[in-house]
Amino acid sequence: MQFVVYTLNGVFSTLNYKSRHILRVMESNLKSATEAKATPIAELRDASKHYGAVVAAQGLNLSIRPGEFLSFLGPSGCGKTTALRMLAGFEAPTSGEILLDGQRVNDVPPHQRPVNMVFQHYALFPHLTVAQNIAYGLRQRRPRPAAAEIARAVDQALETVRLPGFGPRRIWEMSGGQQQRVALARAIVNQPKILLLDEPMAALDKKLRRDMQIELQTLQRSLGITFILVTHDQEEALSMSDRICIMRGGRIVQVGSPRDLYDRPASRYVADFVGKSNFFPGQVATSSGEGTVLAAAGGHRIAGTAPVEIAAGRTASASLRPEQIALHRKADGLPVTVVNRIFLGEHTEYLVRHADLGEFLVLVSRQAEAAEGGFDPGDSAHASWADGAALILADD
């Protein structure tokens, strides 16, 4: 059913905006009905990409749901851009399959794929005006839509990215943030099934990036297009995505909602990448899922949950988020010395040192701090956490 609507959408995409809007409404109504058994809009099946001896991506398996906002997150060189470029058609997988809408597209060139991309440095055509840039995709369609229809769609797209009236401008007359919007308009005007975003906000300053993130998220909801974002910025991925796919060394490490990844990281790597965490290395003493105990330095035993079972005797790390640890004056828990204090507004972040476990971070809320009184560097204090709150994660 979804497919039928998309096909219709393709046929009518040159029609005026009103009818497109109706289709979109139909589509979103259908979406809720078909959500349960929705076929993936895009799929990577055991997809690998090798450049000679260099492995850019290895055995990627991922289903992307229609209408979701999915992020590929990882450091540079982890294969996230390769995954995106395989979906766009710029790279053919060395082995495995790429599917769009259930169809194998390994050999379909980029210009025949129903996806559009927002490039990292926008890749806007410098010899064309803003309006001509946005119209570019529509003008490639055969039969080519009438000039008046293209102009109307371009105006609508400019409206959507909040740049009305900027059509006649030249690209170099636009600021970085404006160019970013033009790049976005140039992609969404084609009504792609999937919008691919390759680190679109990397070149923006922090304030502008935050605004653009919110705008992108709003836009994604209103358009109902599947967004696939590539980023190395964990905050960006956490705040915008429905699901995050964490990559490392060309492989997918974990896929899940931001909350899943934060609360139940499958490995130390994920816990380290998503949010801040303290890691206490040691050896697994008792291994039984929720009742795993780690023997850390100085004979300290840290109880916690192991999301992935680790055999007793193996080295592992206990992970505790700074906000899971409490800092107080009464002699309860580990005796620590305050090393440093960073005021963060609603919270204060303390770096403390324990004789055996070394330094770790504690996040104290303003309320808790008011109750305890503040700590200064050099003060003695005690740190504690709920027994069993730690995550016992394999080192990888």
């Binding site: 766009a88 060139p109 991309m117 490039f119 440095h121 890749a123 055509f125 995709g137 490639q140 030249r170």
Partner: protein
């Protein structure tokens, strides 16, 4: 501020003096001579007459040859150079690229005189025509024809056309081609809509370089045209050194300068339009 201004002028002084003595003053002399009269034994006698300009028609053939063969030669260079530059910039592997670029320049290391002699033999009776004859394809006369001059022009000026185009194509952001493809354009349309327009400044620069130099060319027509295909350059050599009619030679030279000025003005206008009003791309 004062000192800095003084320093700037000091650095510019040698170039300024050079241009003044070697370009501006001679141009003024030529301009003055063009209105003078020829002395009894040749040379220049001061006078004020337009007779030299009225006589320009006597050298019409030279003007005609130049005005036809310079644009045709430029066009021929362009048609051969563009695919070559495209291949070098966008298709050749980086290992081959350097080698091939060097091969394009290598002929420049030998004197144009020697290379033209080589062409005299190649195009002469013992060269290509005799080879064609042996193959039973007739015995065409090549040397001392406009065609021979054209071959010499393309051979000599090709590198000047290849390099600006190569630079323009090499600097082309390859992601623009990906963007074009992503937006639904097949490769050949991407070429027409992205690659070609963005390489136009390079094309214009190459054409300008070749065209201006061709307008003043005299060696190639003299050697491969054998006195039958005369350029303005040849007319000038003849007027100044053989018949010693300096005033008429000066008038021809002034006419040549005017033609070039008009061409350069047209070039600047066109490139400005391609660049969409932006100045920084007009001359590479």
């Amino acid at each position: 501020m004062q000192r800095q201004g003084l320093r700037t002028w000091l650095f510019l002084a040698p170039a300024g003096a050079w241009f003044l003595c070697m370009l501006v003053l001679p141009l003024i002399v030529v301009f003055v001579f063009a209105f003078g009269e020829r002395g009894a034994a040749g040379g220049y006698v001061p006078a004020f007459t337009f007779e030299n300009f009225a006589n320009l028609g006597a050298r019409w053939t030279a003007f005609q040859n130049t005005m036809v063969l310079a644009p045709v030669g430029t066009l021929a260079c362009l048609l051969i150079a563009y695919p070559l530059a495209y291949f070098l910039a966008l298709r050749a592997s980086s290992r081959w690229r350097t080698l091939l670029l060097i091969l394009v320049i290598v002929p420049f290391w030998t004197s144009i005189l020697i290379r033209s002699y080589a062409w005299i033999y190649l195009l002469g009776g013992q060269g290509i025509p005799s080879l064609l004859n042996a193959l039973g394809l007739g015995n065409p006369r090549l040397i001392n024809t406009p065609f021979a001059v054209l071959i010499g022009i393309v051979y000599g000026y090709l590198p000047l056309m290849v390099f600006p185009i190569y630079v323009a194509l090499e600097r082309l952001d390859k992601r623009l081609l990906e963007a074009s493809s992503d937006l639904g354009s097949p490769p050949w349309r991407s070429f027409l809509q992205v690659t070609l327009p963005l390489s136009m400044p390079g094309v214009a620069t190459g054409c300008m370089l070749v065209f201006i130099l061709l307008m003043g060319e005299f060696l190639i027509p003299a050697m491969l045209g054998g006195g039958k295909v005369f350029f303005i350059g040849n007319a000038l050599v003849d007027l100044f050194l053989q018949s010693r009619n300096w005033p008429f030679g000066a008038a021809v030279a002034v006419a040549l300068v005017v033609v070039m000025l008009v061409t350069v003005a047209a070039y600047l206008r066109f490139t400005r339009r391609w660049a969409g009003g932006r100045d920084d791309v007009s001359l590479m």
